[in-house]
Symmetry: C2
DNA sequence: GCTTAATTTATATAACTAATTACAATCCGG
DNA sequence: CCGGATTGTAATTAGTTATATAAATTAAGC
């Protein structure tokens, strides 16, 4: 085990490993090699080994990794061996979609409260939760030990919501609004804006405007 | 202007620039410096200059960048000076949320068709579109010149849907399902799975275990 | 029981990619 | 035509991924 600083790139891959490992576990596969992981996850096996080696020697030479043991270790690294409570702000379409995903989440992150500014939405039910008014946000975050905020409000309100979440003591934010949030350095913010993804995708459409004009090779699987 | 290969990191920032520039434009600001952009977007000004310089000399020394001109240029780089048609597969909660966002999208990417496997959903309306059955997918993609596919189906169906989109001639896919899609190298795939974002966020929660003062002691024999 | 071959991890090193710093070149207003 | 502002880019630093290899493990042959 080393004590270097762990890069973001590594941390972003851990949930991907975890997801596939859970899959293997459900299929009662007990051991897996970095090579197989690499094949399934489109990653270089050496990179996977190196990622895991940052946190300890989890594998056995000649054998590979024990699936259950590795799941346990990654869950621990990601703080998922305890329940992490999250709050969702913005009960629009996207907010509803995320709340419903809640139920499918095998991992220990739970959306335990939903807030919306709109009085007509307050009191309505989303999945198993009741939409609360914004002025309860601080009390709820404190009393229910909520550590992650998920923002699904329109962009103009996002910063204001973030400020309130931070003031109430939230530690991290997942921001779906197309806005760069300002926050103190100790607050972790991840942008999850899909319009950015979608627009950058358009860059890669081939308009015959460069050398790679027409490579028709197209086949199923 | 150079002709180096443009890195993904650069391409992902272009939509971010574009978004803020559109904002400035609406507020009738005509000129902006890399420093101001950097401040607002939390990026190093030199990085912004370098990003833009890959594509041409868009700025003027001593002055900055002309907002309208830069918008036009970035839109051209991202292929957004033409309408790009997209298709959405999976009319669940998330699919509905994205379809509705459609209307807010200032840029030229439009979701022009929605598909779902479930017969009870086929025929229903989502935003301005009518949900179509899966067996029409290939014809629709071809006849309506659809170039981008958005996948919002459950993970077990995602690869199958991707295969059908690719067979129908789609060029790029935005995948919301928590699965690594396999596809030929000429198909561009972006993962937009927010469970990965959410789980990696948990890593950064502080459990007072900083310094990683963790077990890990391994015995020798 | 011993040896050899086939795997597979862990890690050192190298190669590559990306971000930051530093600064000369340029531009405009006065 | 001087001074402050700002770009474009070279040089540097930082970060990430890939390659190469030694060490460990099992299994098979004899």
């Amino acid at each position: 085990m080393k004590s270097e600083k762990i890069s973001e790139a590594v941390v972003r891959r851990l949930p991907v490993y975890l997801r596939y490992l859970n899959d293997l576990n459900k299929r009662e596969v007990s051991t897996v090699s970095s090579q197989e992981l690499g094949l399934k996850l489109d990653l270089n096996p050496a990179q996977i080994r190196k990622d895991l080696a940052y946190f300890g020697d989890f594998g056995r030479k000649g054998i590979g990794y024990d699936v259950s043991y590795l799941i346990e270790k990654i869950r621990h690294i990601l703080n998922l061996d305890q329940q992490i409570n999250a709050v969702l702000v913005g009960a629009g379409n996207l907010g509803q979609a995320l709340s419903n995903y809640n139920l499918y989440l095998r991992e220990n992150i739970k959306i335990v409260a939903v807030f919306d500014e709109n009085p007509t939405k307050v009191g309505s039910r989303i999945s198993t939760l009741t939409v609360q008014p914004m002025d309860e946000i601080s009390d709820t975050i404190k009393s229910r030990n909520i550590r992650i905020g998920i923002i699904t409000v329109p962009d103009v309100e996002a910063q204001n919501v973030a400020d309130r979440l931070i003031a109430a003591g939230i530690e991290a934010i997942l921001n779906f609004a197309p806005t760069i949030l300002k926050a103190p350095a100790n607050i972790r913010i991840h942008a999850a804006d899909f319009t950015t993804d979608l627009l950058s995708l358009a860059y890669y459409l081939d308009n015959g405007k460069d050398g790679s004009a027409d490579d028709g090779a197209q086949e199923d699987k």
